[in-house]
């Protein structure tokens, strides 16, 4: 056996740069994905037929196709239609569109999981639909949504490794580049895995705190 983790140690600064890019992609993908998801969920629960169908199609198509294919269509496919997106934009947008579809479903399910009696009680004291959504249904749905959203955030962070395929030098691609010159596949991939695990763990701990805080209320 011929393992040498000292290679990894010397490459830590470069790997950390990869982590930063991964976190950047994930952050913007999650931010945009949440916006898409909230908008999608509101469309899904609205009584407007057109909005409802659009949101339904969005979720259907995105959930039913691989995220890698979605990303390739954005980055390699669109230029054929004259739309050339920078790799970073394509990467973030692709991940955001993908995340948004799942978030749509999570939020829709969360809203619908709130007891119907809550909306009725809110309306019966004279609140408008909007007031009831914001003040009564929203907070309860948020609590229900947190665990599945945390799950989705973790998925998005891991899926960001696919951005390497559209030439973004995030953590995974950084690792591959190190391997090209050092031939230390096992050591470097292991280091990459550990770094993903650490990033997700930090995230899980924060989420866990938040969940406990909400549960206490």
């Amino acid at each position: 056996m011929n393992l040498d983790f000292s290679v990894v140690l010397t490459k830590i600064p470069i790997l950390l740069e990869g982590c930063v890019v991964t976190l950047q992609i994930s952050f913007f993908a999650l931010l945009l994905g949440m916006i898409f998801g909230i908008a999608g969920a509101l469309c899904r629960i609205s009584s407007n037929r057109a909005l409802n169908s659009i949101a339904f199609m969005y979720v259907w198509v995105i959930r039913g196709t691989p995220v890698m294919v979605q990303l390739f269509i954005l980055y390699f496919g669109l230029p054929q239609l004259g739309i050339k997106l920078p790799s970073m934009v394509a990467g973030v947008l692709g991940l955001a569109i993908n995340t948004g579809a799942y978030v749509t479903e999570i939020i829709r399910a969360g809203i619908q999981a709130v007891d119907k009696g809550q909306m009725e009680a809110a309306l019966s004291v004279g609140m408008s639909f909007r007031q009831a959504m914001v003040r009564i249904i929203g907070p309860q749905a948020t609590k229900i949504c947190i665990p599945p959203l945390v799950n989705q955030f973790i998925m998005t962070l891991k899926n960001s490794s696919i951005a390497s395929l559209v030439t973004i030098t995030e953590l995974f691609r950084t690792g591959e580049q190190i391997i090209y010159t050092t031939f230390r596949s096992f050591e470097v991939y292991t280091a990459v895995a550990v770094l993903y695990l650490i990033m997700n763990s930090v995230f899980m701990v924060i989420a866990d705190r938040l969940e406990r805080k909400m549960a206490r209320q």
């Binding site: 007891d115 009680a121 019966s124 004291v125 004279g126 609140m127 408008s128 009564i136």
Partner: protein, 243 residues
Amino acid sequence: MNYIVEMKNVYKSFGPVEVLKDFNIQLLEGEKVVIIGPSGSGKSTVLRCINKLEPIQSGEIFFEGKKVDEQTDLCDLRTHIGMVFQRFNLFPHKTALENIVEAPLVVKGMSRADAETIGEELLTRVGLADKRDSYPRELSGGQQQRVAIARALAMNPKILLFDEPTSALDPELVGEVLVVMKDLATEGMTMVVVTHEMAFAKDVADRVIFMDGGVIVEEGTPADIFETPSQERTQQFLKRIRH
């Protein structure tokens, strides 16, 4: 005669299911009406049509003589019509006091200080002044329902609708809720109560309505309906619930 609520020839269906058929009812100010009837007969639907939680297919509903139609501000209408639900439906993320002050704050735009003064008065009125900071899950069913009554009173409604307010409660907790309701009745509140608590109906009701299959089968004083019902369906129903 000026009615506070009047339903005229109301027809209501859920898809193919006809729930109210040519339904008519008039409620006088200060009147206490108890509605009884088998499950599925449309009792809840009547209440939910009065405050427009349910749309109707045809017929007319008047509130204080004004027809409720597309022009009606439903939020405003509902502030005048309090509703108490079988399952309480308190807001679980809000304390007892917050449940009560929510509508005065948000709907009426009252100041927090004023709203809380009213909220505390109402909590005292339902005997729960010491529970102002408790969350619904920390309260018994009877206490939750009393908070729900206080919440319904917070907008100073002209009429209160109760949909089987005690049927989700353990028997030993029914009394405390009925006491609060009787107090309200004594104070002159207009009330429509769907309940099978016959002692309460005899005590409080000016009029008892027996519904079946989406129509009023029979109505009269509690004595009329409970002692000498004229319709066979009423007799059979009473026989069933007395066992």
